[in-house]
Symmetry: C2
Subunit: 225 residues, 2 copies
């Protein structure tokens, strides 16, 4: 059964791999699971047919036979549980990898999203600049702790896992802010993950979708890995 | 093996069950797993001994033999995987319950935390009131979608699951804001969960810790369920 994921027809990040389908593509590539992609416009994401799959009107979703999943954390964990490559063999190691997934999504990502949202929604507000140190401080508090824990290790807990995949995906949202560069071990951690062949294949696949859309066509109805 | 969790010695929420140990206590009660509690002061949470267990210096943690976990999502999922009561028997149902856990923590909770943080950190700022509609709007966007999906059902996907436990825990952070009351089905959903005996036992246990601390003593070094 070849799973089908959904992704933006024309990603607002212009192919930089920041849209959340990148996380799922990367996981599928790490475990060697071929997949299909169904592209959606912004309008289609808010229609009843998609809301039946994703109640919050977002991408990606994951369909596999009768199973429908949303939330990248849940999709990546499901993919990781089906084939080897993203979770350790022992139960304790698996539970710790899952802890890093939740840490990425519930502890590290929220202040990063908060800063992004200020840039979108409040850039012209009179308080925008005055609030930036507060927003940056919240991110740095998390990065300080993460950098201290990673120390000189390659990955967060032994071999590369779904926890690293999710943490790196979250840290990549800081690209262009200059913040990551002040933590050399975290910058090297992200670069190490981006050098993985599975990451490269996933990145190329999402970039191809964006390029097809920006070439003026409607883009392919589906792409394959 | 009786697990040990950590919790605030004197919770800043004054026993309203908003601290995150409540989520873990509730899960342990739902599956009938006895546990011990080790209480920590704010100072102790930032010391090296605790940072070795929880890199971000927070509570709760979960220790069981040699296994150490942090992040309530990971702890609740681990607890749910060990004993019946929080996850469906079929693999698809389990994956969907996990999706609701991630939805609670990565999609619904962040805008609620953002609003709380504004109340703590920016209440005296000249822009505080002007930003409130923006913050409320972000929360309502999520509640609109959640309310539409829940509709007239008792729980999010079949029987009560770890997904409901986490979603209700997140929605409870809106207590006192008046926002939840404008979604009758969500308010009833939270009340339905709070009426569960396991919720009641967990709530009483965390309240007892707060009362012991506020009675002027250092509180018990550990409490048991």
């Amino acid at each position: 059964m070849r799973p089908v994921i959904t992704a933006f027809e024309a990603s607002p990040d212009r192919g930089r791999g920041q849209a959340r389908d990148m996380r799922v593509r990367w996981a599928l590539e790490e475990v060697g699971q071929p997949y299909d992609v169904r592209l959606l416009s912004f309008g289609e994401m808010k229609e009843a047919a998609h809301l039946a799959l994703q109640p919050f009107g977002q991408v990606p979703t994951y369909e596999e036979g009768g199973l429908v999943l949303f939330e990248t954390g849940a999709i990546v964990l499901h993919v990781a549980g089906r084939r080897a490559g993203l979770l350790p063999a022992d139960a304790g190691g698996r539970a710790r990898a899952v802890a890093w997934m939740f840490a990425a999504l519930n502890t590290v990502e929220p202040p990063i999203v908060e800063r992004e949202q200020a840039g979108y929604a409040e850039r012209d507000a009179p308080w925008y600049k005055a609030r930036l140190p507060l927003l940056d401080g919240r991110i740095r508090q998390r990065l300080d702790a993460l950098s201290a824990r990673l120390a000189a290790a390659d990955w967060l807990d032994g071999a590369f896992s779904a926890g690293d995949l999710m943490m790196v995906s979250v840290l990549r949202r800081l690209e262009g802010s200059g913040m990551l560069e002040t933590y050399p071990n975290l910058a090297a951690y992200v670069a190490r993950a981006e050098a993985r062949p599975a990451y490269g294949r996933a990145f190329a696949a999402q970039l191809a979708v964006f390029r097809a859309a920006s070439d003026g066509g409607a883009g392919p109805g589906s792409s394959q890995t």
